[in-house]
């Protein structure tokens, strides 16, 4: 394979970062104060919550499933734990570190329940997670009719704290990057990660090849639950309270982020860094529109248009990739003859 082709293929496979850079420079030229340190930190800070959901959704998509309950878990996991630790059993559950662990545990258990229903009981992932999403949303409305605040500073640390020594950098940003780095290693460099991707690419073939595909699917949902719980703690921390509107409507945008990042809807294809790019592009897009003074309602519509563009770019990318490889093959054939 020629060097030029390799570079082109690499660019195509990372097209999200190309789009992101182009968009950034365009905005930096067109919008004053867009490229300032404060605004960049602002974009990243506002992206952290969505980025966790994008990773959660993207991770489940990699195994060939989907999870509609992630934004409900975002609200339910911290909501139920804070309610229990402040109102029901303040003595036993008052410890904020315990509350953090419990929040993760609740998210993980919900994920396990989803995974068990899908992988073991053979339920359709769409319907199962939809039903659970409605159940959890209803429970949140029932349990937390009014916001509960303030939170223990330990609990709200990852969502709220800032480091004055680092230009007022919010703790949420390094936390999000660390999580993404962890998942990059997990997917790329561990046996689990490879088997997980193989399951999404072709479950039957993976089963025949000796991979426990049901375990993989369950693991995917557990991870999605955990990440949604982390997103929940980031949200609760930022507003220093738990409320029943947290995360409303974010699930579908999480699909958009994962798709923008090059994750395949049919499973087996995608990367953690791609999803990160997708999440940041979503955040940067709404930030730019905000700075331009576009109304909030219109921003929502514009995000829909962005999703459409993402699908279009993806089709274009696949066609171009096939064409590049075909051309290379033709060149090789001609070379062999001449």
């Amino acid at each position: 394979m020629s060097g030029g082709l390799k570079i082109k293929l690499t660019l195509l496979d990372n097209i999200i970062w190309l789009m992101l850079s182009l968009f950034f420079f365009a905005c930096a030229l067109g919008i004053p104060a867009f490229a300032s340190w404060n605004n960049i930190v602002n974009i990243l800070y506002h992206t952290t919550i969505m980025s966790m959901l994008v990773l959660a959704q993207g991770f489940v998509l990699l195994s060939g499933n989907l999870d509609l309950s992630i934004d409900a878990v975002l609200a339910f996991a911290p909501g139920a734990v804070i309610l229990a630790s402040t109102k029901w059993f303040p003595g036993v559950l008052g410890n904020p570190y315990l509350a953090i662990l419990l929040t993760l545990l609740v998210g993980g258990c919900i994920g396990f329940f989803n995974g068990y229903c899908v992988a073991r009981l053979g339920m359709n992932a769409f319907m199962q997670t939809l039903s659970l999403s409605i159940i959890l949303r209803g429970m949140v409305l029932f349990l937390i009719p009014l916001s509960i605040f303030p939170l223990d500073p330990v609990y709200s640390f990852i969502g709220k704290a800032r480091f004055p020594a680092l230009g007022n950098l919010p703790a949420a940003i390094p936390v999000a990057f660390a999580v993404y780095f962890f998942f990059h290693i997990l997917l790329k460099h561990t046996v689990f990660g490879r088997n997980y991707l193989a399951t999404g690419g072709n479950a039957r073939a993976s089963f025949v090849a000796g991979i426990d595909t049901r375990k993989m699917v369950i693991a995917g949902f557990i991870i999605a639950g955990l990440l949604s719980a982390v997103a929940g703690m980031l949200t609760a921390g930022r507003q220093d309270s738990v409320s029943n509107t947290m995360g409303n409507g974010m699930t579908l945008l999480a699909f958009a982020g994962a798709l923008l990042g090059g994750t395949s809807m049919s499973g087996g294809k995608g990367s953690a860094f791609g999803m990160l790019g997708g999440a940041i592009l979503l955040g940067m897009f709404s930030n730019a529109l905000n700075l331009l003074g576009v109304k909030v309602t219109l921003i929502h519509a514009a995000q829909g248009a962005l999703i459409f563009v993402a699908i279009l770019v993806d089709r274009f990318r696949i066609a171009l990739r096939a064409k590049l490889l075909r051309d290379e093959q033709l060149r090789k054939l001609k070379g062999a003859k001449g």
């Binding site: 991707l197 690419g201 072709n202």
Partner: protein, 511 residues
Amino acid sequence: MDEPVLLLEGVTKVYPGTVALESVHFEALPGEVHGLIGKNGAGKSTLVGILSGLVEPTSGSITMNGRTFSSFSRSRAKREGISIVPQEPEIVLDLSVAENLFLGELENSSGFVSWSRIRADARRILDRFGLDIGIDLQARDLSLSERQILLILKACVVEDANIVVLDEASASLSRNDAAILKRIVNELRESGKAVLYISHHIDELLEICDRLTVLRDGRVVATRKKGTLDHHSLAELIVGETLSSSESGRKRSANFGEELLRLENLTQWGSFRNISFSLKKGEILGIAGLRGSGRTELLKAISGIEPGYAGQINFKDKRVFFSTPSEALRMGIAYLPEDRETEGLIKSFSIRENLLLNSIARFSRSGFVLGGDAARRAEEIFAGVQIQAFSMEQSAEELSGGNKQKVVIGRIMANEPEVYLLDEPTRGVDIGAKRSILSIVDGPLRASAGVLLTSPGLDDLMDICDRILVLHKGDMVREYRREDFDEKSLFMDMQGLGFQNRRGGDECRAV
């Protein structure tokens, strides 16, 4: 004599690397049941493909209804009055029996479906052939045989075509439904339609057909009237000049190692019965049989993909039972899937990732993949099985059939198993790839393990196997040692015909 309703003249089809059909002349007369037979790869399916408009001939002409075409499209074939019952029942599982029967021909008055008429017509047709199937049942609830007979009825009765092509239509029929098929075919004959009847079973063809055309290596060898043929002369035409065993037989020194696998009276209901054999290290054991003989099911049962059998499997003198493929793999028994597209490859993965799919745990420490070791091993296998690709990073779905197969073989080799279960490794690959796959099996695989091999064609098995077991409808008919290999005799055994002659009595005949 009547004018032929279908006439093929000089039809040739060339695929890259192989000639599937070579100036084929073929005609079908009205009121005739015309049988078509040949070994796998003789060109039957290409011919059917051309008639149904799915394959475009390279040259030649098709004459129907007084008009001459150079090729058919799918809709053209249907408009000219050709109906086809494909090998695999293609039925809409969620629709009712009646609706499936009339799919594409829904009676309508100004765009509305007349359900009362459809249901009445469906009932009438089913009753006419004595079929006890509820017309409102979902197709999902029918047995395989009932689904097939439904498709046959659709093609033969509902579509009212002039020419009906039955492509191994009887393969999945129950005995009762097979009798119904005969009645349908007779009715078509009487009403002056032409039937093209394709089957692997000599018996059936000699009984049903008025004329028979034999294909061999893409050419028409003979077209004969019914009365002029018997089992033996037909088998000879199909097999052709065979190499006697002394010509093909590089005699192998029987230097086999320890016994690896021993099956004792393995039985799986509906698939195979009382299969016993043993396999030694360094040995290649072929399993020959037609579709439905139980060869694939046998390999899947051993490898734990379709567990559930009576009898026992011994691996190195220890009784084993695998309920999943991963258990079998851990013991060192690897299965190569018959269908590489759905059971073999991860299409979204690169060649390297596919090659390391099973063995990646070997190149890891506490869960982390050791990049260098894994890459070296992938490199080794990549070169060993001679995959033609620009680089190992190419995605597996961009490869040709033969190279995809090599990737899957390389993948199971990476695990260094002691027993290979190879289910049709040469299916649907071109001649060049076939040779190199067989030489991999005969070389590195044989050197390191014992191999069970099935193949769609006998020549592959005769080429490299040390022994061949013949299965017929789930029974082990005979075992051949290499010095006794004889294509005609093997072929007759696969048909379930050789058994009878050898034992000289009808009571011994395999059912």
